[in-house]
């Protein structure tokens, strides 16, 4: 037992220790090497950490939420926290090393999450996989940065995008939709971004991008217009409904066209206006140049009820701009009291002023400053009858109080005002409608109805139908006058008078009273001449009567109007007047008296009575002459009467197939309509009359 030599064992143990040690310890060493190798590799492969801050955590989870670039994972959120003051959510993102250097200060980050909008559904994949953070940066290495501000919505223009970057502005009354697509011939060629309200609040602005391949479609003379919604018009060509496509109907959209050639290629940053429709866009090309409008402030003391944004601004009746916005203003320093005044911001289009040289807002301001010092003032005026709308007019007033148009700093220049044309009127829509209510339309209609009724009554009136009978009566009266014994007897009486005068003269010659007799004879001769001339008128009279009768014969007897009746009556009255009837009688009486005198003279033979008799004869002859002189007047009047009757009947005869009753009625209606039209024209010409009641 004690033979076993211990030294041998020790030696062999030492040897195997050394050899064994070098063998088995390889495994843990190998494991260590592998572990350290893996650790070093993973450490070396780690990219830097960047911090992106968002307003809203919105599903960002540490360790899970990925950062993607062009939809490829390039990083992971390692930690989510708050910025100091809890103002923002900060996501610390571990980037992959190979892309880290590209993430420079121009990078943008946003959260991709499912979103349902009118334009469609985006980010649907994130419903299952959870949200992720998308980053975008250009392909060049720029200034390094580790802190970024993230956005909740994708940026319209990503770094490195090469599209045409332009801006849009609405008209004063236009609207914008966020992220609306830009179509051309139905193809989307661009996209608008998030709409914002412009500086003065008068319009909305947004940026837009036209994709690179469509860049050459846009030039400086390109006009954009809104195609969202639909328009419905009803006109002579029928009803028309117009919308561009269902998607723009729902989600809005903008399209454009270049109506004329010759524009310069659009530059980045150029501002385009979005018009309401194609027509206004096209019109704008010819009426409006590219220059920015000159904005002015007008402060009215009066009630501007009825003035709206978009209302015209006119200079001498020519539209040079429009009202951009309305607001109240209180400035006790400037106006001396603290009343609320109305601040109307108008924009004047310089190109409409016909400025010599380049039309710019500055040139327009200079021009207006000059005009203002010469009395140009702004005032309110009625623009629309029905709506009671107002417009702003620039008018030159006589001897105005001194005022200047001055622009101080960034404030808008204030245009001095003058008394408004509607200042005393309550030019409200209600007032207008009240006035329309007060229009005597019902009375007018009633009058028209009355006229028609009267016409009908007149036409069906028995008196009127009897007019032809009256005419007959009149003719027979005339006939009876002409054929009356008295008239017939005039020549006979004259004859006998002359016979007696002959006898008397013979006797007077004997009794030498020729000189007296001469005078008497002269008078008698005058009388006879007068009678002759009066009788000479009779054929004309008869002729006229015949004309009248002929015309009356062709008359349609069922209708005549009051004029004829009254004419007839007056004619009848004239004819049947005692003076007329007695005229021949008086003449006859005078001759009879002469006869009797001559007879008495011859029979009596009293010379002493001769002088007296002759004197009386002369008187009688004188009176005959006077009577006979009146006769032509009577006949002339009758002539005139019948000529008038003839014309009247003629006039009535000129009626064509239309029945005269209808004609007359129509004429009355025409007159009524004429009156109505005249009223309308008056209102049209001078709407103020309605408003102002004058």
């Amino acid at each position: 037992m004690t033979d076993t030599p211990p030294p041998v064992e020790i030696k062999s143990t030492k040897k195997s220790w050394m050899s064994g040690a070098s063998f088995i310890w390889i495994i843990p060493l190998l494991a260590l090497v592998v572990a350290f190798g893996v650790a070093w590799q993973s450490y070396a492969a780690r990219g830097p950490v960047i911090t992106v801050s968002f307003t809203d955590g919105s599903g960002i989870t540490a360790g899970e939420t990925k950062l993607k670039y062009r939809d490829i994972e390039v990083g992971t959120v390692e930690e989510v926290g708050f910025s100091s003051g809890l103002g923002l959510v900060e996501a610390h993102i571990r980037l992959e090393k190979d892309i880290a250097e590209y993430v420079d200060s121009s990078s943008v980050f946003w959260i991709v999450e499912p979103e349902v909008t009118a334009q469609g559904i985006t980010g649907l994949s994130t419903v299952l996989s959870g949200i992720y953070i998308e980053g975008s940066w250009d392909t060049e290495i720029g200034t390094a940065a580790t802190t970024f501000r993230g956005s909740d919505v994708p940026p319209l223009i990503r770094p490195g995008d090469t599209g045409l970057q332009i801006a849009f502005r609405t008209t004063a009354t236009g609207t914008l939709t966020d992220n609306a697509p830009i179509f051309f011939r139905g193809i989307q060629v661009g996209q608008m971004g998030r709409a914002q309200i412009g500086r003065s609040g008068a319009f909305a602005v947004t940026e837009g991008i036209i994709y690179e391949e469509h860049r050459n479609l846009i030039s400086s003379s390109t006009r954009f217009w809104d195609t969202s919604g639909f328009s419905f018009s009803f006109g002579p060509t029928g009803a028309e409904i117009d919308f561009s496509s269902l998607s723009t109907l729902i989600g809005g959209g903008v399209t454009f066209d270049t109506f004329v050639s010759g524009g310069e290629p659009a530059r980045d940053g150029q501002v385009f206006e979005i018009f309401d429709g194609k027509e206004s866009a096209r019109n704008s090309l010819f009426t409006r140049s590219e220059v920015d409008p000159l904005q002015l402030s007008v402060i009215f003391d009066e009630n501007v009820s009825g003035l709206t944004a978009g209302a015209p601004v006119e200079l001498s009746g020519f539209r040079i701009g429009s009202v951009d916005s309305l607001s109240g203003i209180v400035d006790s320093n400037q106006f001396g009291d603290s009343r609320v005044r109305l601040n109307v911001i108008i924009s004047v289009q310089p190109s409409r002023l016909g400025l010599p040289g380049e039309a710019s807002a500055e040139a327009a301001l200079t021009l207006l400053q000059d005009r203002v010092s010469n009395g140009l003032r702004a005032r309110l005026a009625s623009a629309s009858l029905l709506t009671g709308g107002l417009k702003v007019e620039l008018v030159e007033v006589e001897n105005p109080p001194a005022a200047r148009l001055e622009q101080t700093g960034t404030e808008l220049a204030i245009m001095p005002t003058t008394e408004s044309e509607v200042s005393d009127a309550t030019a409200t829509a209600e007032g207008v409608f009240t006035r329309i209510n007060n229009l005597p339309i019902e009375e007018l209609l009633n009058s028209a109805i009355n006229v028609l009724n009267s016409a009908e009554v007149l036409i069906s009136n028995g008196d009127l139908q009897r007019v032809p009978g009256d005419v007959s009566t009149l003719l027979s009266d005339l006939s009876s006058i002409v054929t009356s014994d008295d008239v017939k007897n005039i020549p006979v009486a004259l004859n006998s008078t002359l016979t007696r005068v002959e006898g008397l003269v013979a006797e007077l010659e004997r009794q030498r009273i020729a000189e007296v007799l001469g005078t008497t004879l002269t008078a008698a001769s005058e009388a006879a001449d007068a009678v002759t001339s009066s009788v000479a008128g009779v054929p004309e009279l008869v002729e006229d009567i015949q004309t009248v009768a002929a015309k009356a014969a062709t008359l349609e007897f069922d209708v005549l109007i009051q004029e004829l009746t009254s004419l007839t009556s007056s004619a009848e009255a004239l004819v049947s007047s005692p003076e007329t009837a007695q005229l021949p009688v008086a003449l006859s009486g005078a001759l009879d008296q002469l006869n009797a005198t001559l007879r008495e003279l011859r029979e009596g033979g009293a010379v002493q009575n001769v002088n007296q008799t002759l004197a009386s004869a002369r008187t009688a002859a004188d009176s005959i002459a006077v009577s006979a002189r009146d006769l032509p007047d009577v006949i002339t009047r009758l002539n005139a009467l019948f000529a008038q009757a003839g014309r009247t009947i003629d006039g009535y005869n000129q009626g064509d197939e239309l029945s005269r009753s209808a004609q007359a009625a129509l004429r009355d209606i025409q007159q009524a309509a004429g009156a109505l039209e005249k009223l309308a024209r008056t209102i049209e010409r001078n709407p103020n009359s309605l408003l102002l009641g004058r």
Partner: protein, 213 residues
Amino acid sequence: MELSGTSEKTVTARAAGLVACTRCTRAWPIETQVCGRCGAKLVSRDENSLQRVWALWIVGLMCYVPANVYPMLRTQQLFQVDESTIIGGAVDLAHYGAFGIATIILVASVVIPLGKFWAIAFLAVSVRSGRGFASHHRLLMYEVVEYIGRWSMIDIFVVAILSALVQLQGLASITPGPAAFFFALSVIFTMLSAQAFDPRMIWDAQADDDEAL
């Protein structure tokens, strides 16, 4: 431990000038290099045993660290992916009230492996220092460790079975995580470490103790 009633000291084969074949158990003179019966290499005492134990023990422990840090199971349900480590999974189960299963997992995956590491380290240290523990108990401990070794893969079996069974495309699927690999490595190295231990050293230590007494 006192072998009371046995006045005789422990006599090892080595002390008797013999060497036993570890495969067929036949005893040969100590100079014999190869077993004449079964052809196995004969070594009276494996001098590298403790080195191998320690080396493999260290590797096993190194593998045990990622096995607990990395996720063991990757459970993909309809919309979510769940990755759980061993301890994390047990804690989750305990949260859901499944204390029994949580206990089993903790025992099988944490307590037993750690116990093995401790036991092997204890045996390796104690055969050198030879203090504080009876040789019988050390042997029992060694046999328990070696026996348990083959069952230590039960975690890996569970993961493998689950991964094979739960593969409902899209709805749910379970895949092993990196921890499974390291856990398996850890178990393997622990077993190798335990096997590298030469239990005869226990008795050498016993003999030393006796001499010391």
